[in-house]
């Protein structure tokens, strides 16, 4: 019974972490250009967006 007291919060916390990570990636535009991301890795030099 005592185990439940920390196991349940840990389980829920991990789940919530995954959910937050997904929500963040969604709002951060990580899924907007799936094809581009696959091709960009083949570029040798990193393109720095001009600040």
């Amino acid at each position: 019974m005592n185990g439940l007291l920390f196991l349940i919060p840990v389980a829920l916390g991990l789940g919530a972490l995954g959910l937050t990570a997904f929500m963040w990636s969604l709002s951060n535009g990580q899924y907007e250009d799936l094809e581009g991301a696959a091709s960009r890795i083949l570029n040798d030099e990193e393109i720095e967006p001009r600040a």
Partner: protein
């Protein structure tokens, strides 16, 4: 003479580019997003971008320009997002740079809005929340089912409630709002029983956990939402994909025009700004933005959109032209006679809107099911409540529990998945074969057809003429003719160039396109002409009687006149498609704007008994209306602007790849290939999908037949509810997956079409 002709040609080219560029710039500026710090973000489409290297070239090339704050190429959308510090002058340099890099910049149009699809974002977020909640609540439910009692059970119920309540409130909104909207209009859709089931399950579980100490159905409520949201997201993504692909194909129609001011300056005005009386310059290769009369210049016009005729019509000073027709050979100035909103194009659009409103009475299968299903469920629940009240001598708690559990178990999880999953899978198969579907209900409507009406030009035929009899002797003459024909954009010339075998390596100089007549060049001091017979005959030696058949003439100065006759080419697989359709009991007919004899030839070649020639857009509409009143469900297959109202009015419609913009928008299905046999495949797929959907409904109902008596007897517990709901959903999805086996029959296309219509290229 040759140098003069070159000068003219060059000027036309710059004019075309200038006007297109000005139009693009003003469109981009309209869609720009102004960021807070004075910089502006533009979305520019670059359809030719296709690999990582293109991304690199674009980002490096544009990033090196002054004033560019940020540049990001999106390969999926084929679009570049550019942020500029001072927008006014630099946008032009950006567009020019893109051209220089080899990526023709275009206005993204609707695509720009699609990258920020609010609805999809909301649905995906709801799905994520429902997924998180259902996984965790299910984990907490398992120990309760396997024997946790007392304090542990109560604790687990409390935690479940804590997770499920916000999850239901957040993830359930798409269903609640849709159900509420339906109820307000006194209609019932599938979302009404879904919302009721979810809310009652949550409500009863709350009551039981905190006051009654009984059973909790939190897991059923959230996993139900999770399953249903999967269906919704898939459905939404399918529609987006089809829409995006359709607008990728879209040719840019005239959205404005170059207006010549009183002082001779050219300014670009959007469509709304063009008033009657204004003089516009329309370059070769552009569409006329408004109706008008020609005031200067001469050209050939492709009026296929208006009349369905593919043969270009010559225009000169004083000729009237309609908006939307294509200016083929020369730059002309026109005086607008009507504002854009009163043009021929706009009239067609109004006809379409009216026709579409007439069709909106169609009710989707799932809604029809809901209409029958919801009352049955509610009566069952009511009967259970009354029965228990009598049986248990007024035990209100037991009666309510039994009635609510009936509502929970009948909550149409499998029913909610039955339609979207089948539609999504078959849309995916159709998409892979080059058929875009706009909307799931189109599949249901296509399955119900009993008549198919085809347009002729551009649908049963390719719309491009092909050479019936070449009439040009092989050797030097043919080489010269091919060399000349290759340099013209006229469809007839293109057909001749394709029909002449061998090389085109002849030395010709001083090429000149004479609008309305043809092309002229010189070869070793002799003039060559290809085009209208009367014009070519001017330089030919013999001037016998001119041929009357449609065709193109060719002559070398002082030599004989050669004449090639042209005919329309039947599309691959047209006859096979109609044969297949009639084998399934579907009558085909032709509705065409062309003259009788031409239509008759095509009808004979395709074995079509019923054909109507010389129909105007309104006549096609009337014919469809008459059929609809006779209780027929008509499939309309057409491409032109003149078919657009008919496409919108028909029970269901298909537009081939070559269709006009308006045609593509109006049709339910758009083919991306030139292959007409895809019409047959789409129909097969629709029939198969309809059968699978019916099976899905049957499976979902069978599960209810077993589960409902349990619930009515008060024997339902959360474990049974969870197992029954998930297993019925899985069975429905698995059954729908059988649609993945759909495949088009490619052998149809290879089958030779009727011999009488095969283009006979004379190998002289």
């Amino acid at each position: 003479m040759s140098c003069c002709a070159d000068g003219v040609a060059k000027q036309v080219v710059t004019n075309t580019q200038d006007s297109a560029r000005a139009g693009l710039l003003s469109e981009l500026a309209l869609q720009a997003r102004h960021l807070g710090d004075g910089s502006v973000n533009y979305q520019i489409a670059a359809p030719s971008m296709h690999c990582g290297n293109c991304v690199n070239t674009l980002e490096c090339g544009l990033g090196a320009l002054p004033d560019v704050a940020k540049v990001r190429a999106n390969l999926s959308l084929k679009q570049v997002s550019v942020t500029l510090r001072s927008p006014e002058k630099s946008l032009e340099t950006v567009v020019a740079k893109m051209d220089e890099l080899g990526f023709k910049p275009q206005s993204p149009g609707d695509l720009a809005r699609q990258s920020h699809d609010e609805v999809l974002q909301r649905l995906v977020r709801s799905l994520a929340v429902a997924g998180f909640a259902s996984a965790n609540v299910m984990l907490l439910s398992l120990p309760v089912w396997t024997g946790a009692t007392g304090a542990t059970e109560t604790l687990f119920h409390y935690i479940s409630a804590l997770i499920a309540l916000p999850a239901v409130a957040y993830a359930g909104r798409p269903f609640f709002s849709s159900a509420w909207a339906a109820l307000k209009q006194r209609r019932v859709n599938m979302d009404v029983p879904i919302s009721l089931g979810v809310l009652l399950a949550t409500g009863m579980s709350l009551y039981e956990s905190f006051l009654g100490g009984g059973q909790a159905y939190f897991d059923a409520a959230v996993s139900l939402l999770f399953f249903l949201l999967i269906g919704r997201v898939l459905d939404h993504m399918m529609r987006n994909k089809a829409r995006a692909a359709a607008s990728h194909l879209a040719q840019l129609a005239a959205k404005g025009g170059m207006v010549i001011g009183a002082d001779g300056t050219l300014t670009y005005l959007p469509l709304g700004g063009i008033k009657p009386g204004m003089v516009l310059r329309v370059a070769a290769g552009e569409r006329f933005p408004v109706d008008g009369t020609v005031t200067d210049g001469a050209s050939d016009v492709d009026r296929a959109l208006v009349s369905g005729e593919s043969a270009p019509v010559a225009i000169e000073i004083g000729s009237g032209i309609e908006a939307g027709t294509l200016n083929l050979t020369g730059s002309v100035d026109i005086k607008a006679t009507r504002a854009a909103e009163h043009s021929f194009l706009a009239e067609i659009t109004q006809m379409m809107v009216a026709a579409e409103n007439g069709r909106s009475t169609y009710m989707q299968l799932s809604d029809r099911m809901a209409k029958a299903y919801a009352p049955v469920v509610h009566i069952l629940a009511l009967t259970t409540f009354a029965g228990w009240l009598i049986y248990s001598h007024g035990n209100l708690h037991a009666s309510i529990t039994a009635a609510v559990s009936v509502l929970i178990i009948t909550c149409p999880c499998a029913l909610g998945l039955a339609v979207p999953v089948a539609h999504v899978i078959s849309a995916g198969r159709l998409f892979a074969s080059g058929i875009l579907m706009k909307d799931g209900s189109a599949l249901e409507r296509l399955a119900a057809i009993d008549t198919a009406a085809f347009d002729k030009t551009g649908t049963l035929t390719t719309g491009q003429p092909s050479v019936k009899h070449l009439g040009i002797p092989a050797g030097e003459i043919a080489t010269l003719a091919k060399a000349l024909a290759l340099r013209s954009v006229h469809p007839g010339a293109k057909a001749i160039a394709a029909a002449i075998e061998g090389s085109a390596s002849a030395s010709i100089a001083g090429l000149r396109e004479v609008p309305g007549h043809g092309v002229e060049a010189s070869h070793m001091g002799h003039r060559l002409r290809l085009g209208r017979a009367s014009w070519v005959a001017e330089i030919a030696a013999q001037t016998t009687s001119l041929p009357t058949e449609t065709g193109v003439a060719f002559a070398l100065e002082g030599g004989p006149l050669y004449y090639s006759t042209l005919s329309e080419k039947l599309r691959d697989g047209a006859a096979a498609t109609i044969a297949k359709l009639s084998a399934r009991g579907i009558e085909s007919c032709i509705l065409s704007g062309d003259g009788g004899p031409q239509v008759e030839v095509v009808a004979l070649a395709c074995c079509i008994k019923e054909y109507h020639a010389g129909l105007k857009p309104g006549d096609k509409l009337a014919w469809l209306k008459q059929k609809a009143e006779a209780g027929k469900h008509v499939l309309m297959v057409g491409d032109g602007l003149n078919d657009a109202p008919a496409l919108a009015a028909a029970h269901v419609s298909i537009a081939p790849a070559s269709a006009s913009d308006v045609g593509r928008t109006a049709a339910d299905f758009v083919l991306t290939s030139d292959d007409l046999t895809m019409v047959n495949f789409a129909h097969e797929a629709a029939l198969k999908t309809a059968r699978i959907v019916k099976e899905n409904f049957a499976l979902a109902i069978i599960y209810n037949v077993f589960a409902v008596p349990l619930a009515m007897a008060g024997q339902l517990n959360p474990l049974i509810a969870a197992i029954a709901m998930s297993s019925s959903s899985i069975i429905v999805v698995a059954n729908s997956l059988r649609l993945q086996l759909l495949k088009p029959d490619h052998s149809l296309r290879a089958r030779p079409t009727n011999r009488t219509f095969k283009p006979e290229v004379a190998h002289a």
